[in-house]
Symmetry: none
Subunit: 197 residues, 4 copies
DNA sequence: CATGAATGAGGATTCATTCAT
DNA sequence: CATGAATGAATCCTCATTCAT
């Protein structure tokens, strides 16, 4: 194992431990000692990889939000030309990400606010972009007469928050696969924007 | 002002300050000194009213969950005999509570997990009871053929989490009143359980 | 012993311990643990009296500089009308203070620079005022023809720095009393400003 | 540039950076990282040149004290046979060194005490030798009736400390050259030992 | 009830230094 | 020589809490 590989492994271990700690105890409740211990590393050594506790949170959140945005964008592009399909695909990808990267999404949802403003903005930008995608699709669907919701943006918000709550209860070892869940939520979302709601 | 009144006022001030602090910095991020300071009280004196920091959180959460449960139960009883109306009323009451007691609901959602297991159970019991109400209504609707959802319990979960997220974005000084919002969410919920979703 | 007296005693003990620690190990070399330990106090309790390590240094320095300034001013006022006597009195008082409050003067000389700018200014103001007094007296002496130094301000500087160095070597348990030393230095100072130097 | 030259350059850079850091933040306030950074070197690499932080300080102090001693000795030898000239020359050389190697003298004065006893002795020996030179000259002057001071050793101390304080205020970019300053201080010193003081 | 002082445990972070490469 | 990673001890300071008054 090369030097490079080992340090990369250590960095990964630290991030994983931090993610775990933040999920279980929250950002403020987690301590650097716990994180370091869980990563099999000395507390002082963590600082050779991340300059501060904040940076740990930021790194986790940035990766998660970037990846989720990418997943949603890819889903929209992959889908056929119909708005309905694109929207369903976006929701499905979003939910799937939430279900598959549970911990990161959970932490993203609950700990983002503890990030310093500078760090926070980058992550918020990702989220805003995501929201725009959904709002754009719904607006297009409404324009085409495919969707009937009278409050498109608010419906989007309702859908996105509903999906974001998935990690609060979904368990990957339960009877429902992430793909199944995603499919169901895509239908919920369609019901929300198609109906009179 | 009687002594009794004064101490009641102090207790209220402490709880209000704690709620504020928990909302802004989270349970672990908030300090007793900040809470005491915001309440216009000495840190030591807080302990004359609440035995520990945990108790502050518990008190806030218990009141909120009890009140919300009561609101939902009252809405169901008040509504006419039709399941559809009872369900819509329950959702509406739930959302209205979320919108009107924003801070408490926010803290309930994000900080419950930091409560000791003993304390936590009481609050969880309230929530479970609430969930049962919704699930019971949906099940009844399905049985009566009023609702068409193939996954009643999961749909309930989706609806409840969607509603619980309202305090994340709703602002009481915005263009939407809590009552309006509640009405809309009732329609969203109906769309979810009525449709094929 | 009243409560008030006891806390005053603790504060004094902390300051004394801090003075000792700063003198022996310097501001950065001294630790709060050492200071607290020497004061017979818990480290955490120190913060009930002083908000930060800096404040300890500042308090010590402020008291010392204020007291020394007062001593010098009093000496000038007490002295007769002759400039020569006033100047000698000022030098004598200055040196006596240095000899009698050795540790404080030592720390003042060597650790002032580690004070934050805000704190530092107050102490520097005291010193500047002192220097002004000396320069004013010498200037007056020169104007009256009593002193012959061609570089009055610089001579003052030389004298003041010479006196400030006293705590570097003077030991109160040596053969020389503070008063004796002060008298001698007064003569040195006079030699400096009277002569052709 | 040969390897030899390069390593010599690195060593010089480290010493220069250490001197700067010690002057600005004191021995305990300066960190190896700052020093290494200012020298354009890795912290770990500093240890290829100096075994410990203490050694950095010792090296700086040893060079400075040795050089100053040499300067004073040379001045005495260069001067004519008259004690007065020899003494004036010694003082002048001493002050000139203080003014020209400001930073080193400043650090020597304030940080010597943080050196371990073993290291410290070597530097103290140099200083003692210097002091002996001055005391010897003054004693000789008194014996010859050239100087009139009743406390020769103490006067020497006063002079030396006065001169040592020069780096506290002298600025090489001011109106006074180091040579001018040295000349003036030589006169001050003579005034001190010649007069009745 | 209310308070200022006290405390022990623990917070994040930095230190000088070492080691493997 | 040079380096990035590693470390254990120590840094200042804050925490929730208690106690004497």
């Amino acid at each position: 194992m090369s030097r490079r590989e080992r340090t990369a492994g250590v960095e990964r271990a630290i991030l994983a431990a931090a993610l775990d700690a933040f999920r279980e105890r929250g950002f403020h409740g987690a301590t650097m000692r716990q994180i370091a211990g869980a990563a099999g590393v000395t507390p002082a050594n963590v600082y050779n990889y991340f300059a501060a506790k904040d940076d740990l949170l930021e790194e986790i959140l940035r990766r998660a939000s970037a990846d989720q945005l990418a997943a949603v964008e890819a889903a929209v592009e992959t889908a056929g030309p119909a708005v309905r399909d694109q929207f369903a695909g976006a929701v499905s990808a979003y939910v799937r990400f939430e279900a598959e990267r549970l911990a990161e999404c959970l932490v993203s949802a609950s700990e983002l606010r503890y990030l310093g403003p500078a760090h926070r903005e980058r992550i918020v930008a990702c989220r805003d972009r995501e929201q725009e995608i959904f709002e754009h699709l719904v607006a297009k669907g409404v324009a085409e007469g495919v969707f009937g919701t009278p409050h498109p943006d608010e419906a989007c918000l309702a859908i996105l928050t509903m999906c974001s709550a998935v990690p609060l209860w979904y368990r990957p070892d339960g009877p429902l696969t992430a793909a199944d869940l995603a499919a169901r939520y895509a239908r919920y979302a369609l019901a929300l924007v198609e109906g009179i709601a």
